[in-house]
């Protein structure tokens, strides 16, 4: 089930899910989440705007209820950021609080102090955080495969164990994928990452 969070990448995610053979239902009512066996939370644009959309449609609490039932939840881009306690984008805004941590601006400079471009836009490979991706939605993901990012803010999870993968940006580690039990997220856009991204969506659907 795909949550209609009122953001513009909803259809892109739907098309990618259709392509990998998912039976997609777009949920725009809280009650629709009762029957979902998987839930994807897309999101682009400003964090506060995305959260406000969820609250306005009664979907904020419905997502929390869904997550409590321990069924798989995948947040994409700002959808992933919303899993955390909150974001500093345009002042503090609370998130869903399913994962401890804050969303903060990407540092303006790389590790060597040289300024780099913000937003972080483009294709990057995933660096493994922790021992193994076995049993996760990144299982079998090749080290040379790249996925597409576009973001100016980055999640800083409190628990290192929640981080599955980083993207290296001039020596700065940007949180690229997270997981704690049934709560999952990608900062990158699997729906825009070609075959590599479609594979990740397939693995999520198989979980």
């Amino acid at each position: 089930m795909l949550l209609d969070s009122g953001t513009s990448n909803l259809l892109s995610v739907q098309r990618a899910l259709d392509h990998v053979g998912a039976d997609v239902v777009i949920a725009d009512q809280p009650s629709m989440l009762d029957d979902a066996d998987r839930l994807i939370l897309p999101g682009v644009g400003a964090f506060g705007h995305c959260v406000a959309n969820l609250i306005e449609n009664g979907l904020f609490d419905a997502v929390l209820d869904y997550a409590r039932r321990e069924r798989p939840l995948l947040g994409i881009c700002v959808g992933m950021q919303m899993l955390f306690d909150g974001s500093e984008e345009f002042g503090w805004n609370d998130g869903l609080g399913l994962l401890p941590g804050r969303v903060q601006p990407i540092p303006m400079s790389g590790a060597d102090g040289g300024r780099h471009k913000i937003p972080h836009i483009g294709w990057a490979t995933l660096e493994r955080s922790g021992p193994d991706w076995a049993g996760t939605f990144l299982e079998g993901f090749g080290r040379d495969r790249a996925v597409y990012f576009v973001h100016s803010f980055s999640a800083r999870p409190e628990a290192v164990s929640d981080i599955l993968a980083f993207a290296d940006y001039d020596g700065i580690q940007l949180t690229a994928a997270v997981r704690r039990d049934n709560i999952m997220g990608t900062q990158f856009h699997p729906e825009k990452s070609g075959q590599a991204g479609l594979g990740i969506l397939s693995r999520f659907l198989a979980m």
């Binding site: 513009s8 990448n9 259809l11 892109s12 098309r15 990618a16 392509h19 682009v44 644009g45 400003a46 303006m108 300024r115 471009k117 913000i118 937003p119 972080h120 836009i121 483009g122 294709w123 990057a124 490979t125 090749g142 040379d144 495969r145 790249a146 597409y148 990012f149 576009v150 973001h151 100016s152 290296d168 940006y169 001039d170 856009h189 729906e191 825009k192 990452s193 070609g194 075959q195 590599a196 991204g197 479609l198």
Partner: protein, 257 residues
């Protein structure tokens, strides 16, 4: 590490590709969707459609092109040309575009860029700048032009680029009108001046004739991405050749597809 993005650009007029490629296995060489599919399979990192449809009646054809592309290509797609108001952006995003390029409308009303970024997010707002060298009191300056380089605006390009970034543009698509179509290479001085002046990524465009030009655009022009039309369309170089050349020159590129 971020890869340098290689972006083919397709000029689309009333739903048809204007400068077509002679891909041998193309069922319909004039269909932008067919070409998009091939570029996707060839490893293009993004795709840009420039809608050059002049007539009002023909304008809706781009939505169908974007929709059909998005159903088959799971890569970022930018659409420019005739983006004048918030509804234009909304309709393109709903059709499946990831980013919209604003050009003339930004010059006419700079606040439109801010309103668009606020409404849809900076990630989908690209400001296209067409710049040209002009003589100002005996010195060379870069100035913003519109209408395909025909109309002078009197706006100094570097300050303009900074203003667009401040208003919320997520990227700049910078085209040198002096070099466009010449195959003489990017205007590196212009590209570097703008790329160094703004915090956001700059896509270099206009003038690519060789693969070394692509490398120069990044190395010397400090561009984050390179856009080209004719060298890909006319089959002079493939995406794979371009990437192999850039990798050999030491640049990071995405090779898996």
């Amino acid at each position: 590490m971020l890869s340098t993005r290689i972006i083919p650009c397709l000029d689309v007029d009333k739903g048809r590709v204007v400068k077509g490629v002679n891909f041998v296995d193309l069922v319909d060489a004039g269909d932008p969707v067919e070409q998009a599919r091939l570029y996707d399979a060839a490893g293009a990192d993004e795709l840009c459609f420039l809608d050059i449809t002049a007539s009002h009646e023909g304008r809706d054809t781009i939505f169908d092109v974007v929709r059909r592309t998005a159903e088959q290509c799971f890569m970022p797609v930018t659409v420019g040309g005739g983006v004048r108001n918030l509804d234009d952006i909304r309709n393109l995003l709903l059709a499946g575009a990831d980013k919209t390029a604003i050009n003339t409308a930004a010059v006419t009303n700079p606040d439109f860029v801010g309103a668009a970024a606020l409404k849809f997010g900076s990630q989908c707002i690209v400001v296209a700048i067409d710049a040209k060298r002009v003589d100002r009191d005996g010195k060379t300056a870069f100035e913003v032009f519109t209408h395909g380089g025909r109309r002078e605006t009197g706006i100094e390009a570097i300050g303009w680029a900074q203003r667009m970034a401040e208003l919320g543009a997520g990227e700049l698509l910078l085209t040198s009108m002096d070099r466009d179509g010449t195959k003489a290479g990017f205007d590196l001085e212009l590209t570097r001046a703008i790329a160094d002046a703004v915090p956001i990524p700059v896509i270099a465009s206009g003038g690519v004739g060789t693969l070394d030009h692509m490398v120069e655009g990044v190395r010397e022009g400090h561009a984050s991405a390179v856009l080209a039309a004719s060298i890909f369309h006319f089959g002079t170089y493939s995406i794979a050749e371009t990437k192999a050349h850039m990798r050999a020159a030491g640049l990071e590129v995405r090779l898996d597809i």
